[in-house]
């Protein structure tokens, strides 16, 4: 390929294209899906347009509005494909694509820019990207299908990358995605932002998927690496986007709550692993390594969440409460100076609105730090009865830890051993092995 003297270099084209794809892919694909109703076709045509840009831009130069260029080429590919198929249904769809997209093609063809919100007749935010996100997270789809669709279609990971997140083969992931898309089409899952009556529960559903993406990146199941930074950052970016798109909605406080929670947790990314890749618990982390910028942004986001909540007069939701807990940890000057009795209260409130054995466990740990290990151990005994947590490594690790803190090393040992048997990641296993060695040396 020969570029003219004044033409851009391949590197320049790659850089521009990568940045346009990052900022425009979701908008273009989600709009194509709305008009043609075919997810695969929309994604393939966008990929074709990107390939075309790679071939054409080095010689003809980068267009003035690269996003509009990609939109037009993707759209034309969709129209061509529908014309070739040429059944009654595809003719109808092609007509829809031609008229609807052309109708909005002057100037900014991809809908309203960030910051300007339009609402549907229902009062729901009117944005194709949000339609796509809500559809991917529809509760009639299995949870792993929701996460897979979000990774593939919303975030834009390849099938191979998506398979890697789930630790399954590419073929298995491809089948899962095909099945999920078939259900969306054949079971009549609507491509929309849910109407006001459904919006609260469906928003919680979207936030659950976003948080799962975030935690998946944070403590990747059985994987060897403890933090998959790109996935964590994608999850935060997507949460920010949802927050921007849901501006003015009564659900915004919860979205902001989740964003703050993610920022606080991510602020510790550099401090929670040592140079050998081993886990460092919160208490022993070097707080100088915490990302101050992320923490102060988190505090700001949490404050806006509260202001928004007061404006709408709603109750404090679970994501906001979890963010408040994380804020106490993030702003404590030392582990010892952490306000654990306040944290225990917040866990108690959380348990009332979103009961879960894991929350009860966390409350027991906070109580132990506030009032001493023995009180905490008594609380843990009451949890054991439920048996929900018998296979949960952190219950056993918590019990072992409280016994260790009260100097009962011999009693702690078997609980560390049990936690080790159940621990899902290599760094957690190494941490527990170190504790086991300490216990053996100490008694």
């Amino acid at each position: 390929m020969t570029a003219s003297d004044s033409g851009p270099t391949a590197t320049e084209v790659n850089l521009v294209l990568a940045s346009v794809v990052a900022s425009e892919r979701l908008r273009i694909v989600s709009t194509l899906i709305r008009y043609c109703g075919d997810w695969d076709l929309s994604e393939d045509c966008f990929q074709d347009a990107v390939a075309r840009a790679l071939a054409v831009w080095p010689t003809r130069g980068v267009p003035d509005n690269p996003g509009a260029w990609l939109t037009t080429v993707s759209k034309n590919r969709v129209i061509d494909a529908l014309r070739r198929a040429s059944t009654e249904l595809t003719t109808f769809r092609r007509y829809a694509v031609e008229t609807e997209i052309d109708g909005s093609a002057d100037g900014n063809s991809e809908g309203s820019p960030m910051g300007e919100r339009s609402l549907t007749a229902d009062g729901a935010p009117d944005d194709d990207r949000l339609r796509l996100i809500f559809t991917c997270c529809h509760p009639a789809l299995a949870m792993d299908a929701r996460v897979a669709l979000t990774l593939r279609t919303v975030i834009g990971l390849s099938v191979q990358e998506t398979a890697h997140v789930f630790l399954v083969s590419e073929q298995t992931m491809q089948k899962r995605l095909v099945r999920a898309r078939s259900k969306i089409r054949d079971a009549g899952i609507p491509y929309r932002v849910p109407p006001a009556g459904l919006l609260p529960e469906r928003t919680s559903g979207v936030l659950a998927v976003l948080y799962l993406l975030f935690t998946e990146g944070y403590s990747s199941g059985s994987g060897a690496e403890l933090v998959r930074a790109p996935l964590v950052e994608e999850a935060i970016r997507l949460t920010r986007l949802v927050a921007a798109m849901m501006h003015g909605s009564e659900q915004l406080p919860e979205v902001l709550g989740l964003l703050a929670l993610e920022l606080f947790q991510h602020s510790r990314a550099d401090a929670r692993i040592d140079t050998a890749g081993d886990l460092i618990i919160l208490e022993e982390q070097d707080r100088q390594l915490w990302n101050k910028g992320a923490i102060s942004e988190g505090m700001g986001v949490l404050a806006s969440a509260e202001a928004e909540r007061l404006r709408h007069g709603g109750a404090v939701g679970s994501d906001q409460l979890q963010a408040q807990i994380a804020a106490h940890h993030a702003t404590a000057p030392t582990a010892a100076a952490t306000d654990f009795s306040r944290i225990a209260d917040l866990y108690a409130r959380l348990a009332r609105i979103a009961p879960s054995p894991v929350i009860d466990l966390n409350r027991a740990i906070a109580v132990a730090f506030a009032e001493g290990p023995d009180t905490g151990l008594k609380l843990l005994d009451t949890l054991d009865g439920g048996r929900h947590l018998a296979e949960y490594h952190l219950l056993h690790a918590a019990r072992a830890d409280l016994l260790r803190r009260s100097g009962r090393f011999a009693d702690a040992l078997p609980h560390y051993v049990r936690a080790l048997e159940l621990a899902p990641s290599d760094p957690e296993r190494r941490f527990l092995q170190r504790r086991i060695a300490e216990m053996r040396r100490s008694h």
Binding site: A140, A187, G188, P190
Partner: protein, 110 residues
């Protein structure tokens, strides 16, 4: 879009409370939406007959085609906007509380 709602018994569900059975209200809601396309309850599985033809021979079996503790107690065909509306209607059916409702999209022949 048409959906068939299978009204299914569930031995693990909370016991049936006649006073909390608001099926008339449910039917009235369906009628007022104009989405009802027919439905009924079904006689118990003890009244079922299963028909099989093998090698040209018709074989009759007393009872349902499969022995299970869950059985179809009724059905409703509805014609609604999308799955969300079908789910909303299914969730209001009293048997969603005392049993379960399976929502199946109708797959028309082209």
């Amino acid at each position: 879009m048409e959906y068939l709602l299978f009204i299914v018994s569930d031995p693990a569900a909370p016991p049936y409370v006649p006073e909390e059975d608001n099926i008339e209200e449910w039917v009235a809601d369906l009628e007022s939406r104009g989405v009802a396309r027919g439905g009924n309850r079904l006689r118990p599985v003890s009244d079922a007959t299963t028909v099989t033809v093998r090698d040209g021979k018709t074989i009759l079996t007393d009872g349902p085609f499969t022995e299970t503790k869950e059985w179809i107690a009724g059905f409703d065909l509805i014609d609604v906007e999308n799955l969300d509306e079908a789910i909303e209607i299914a969730a209001k059916h009293p048997m969603a509380r005392f049993g379960r409702v399976e929502v199946r999209p109708v797959w028309p022949f082209e």
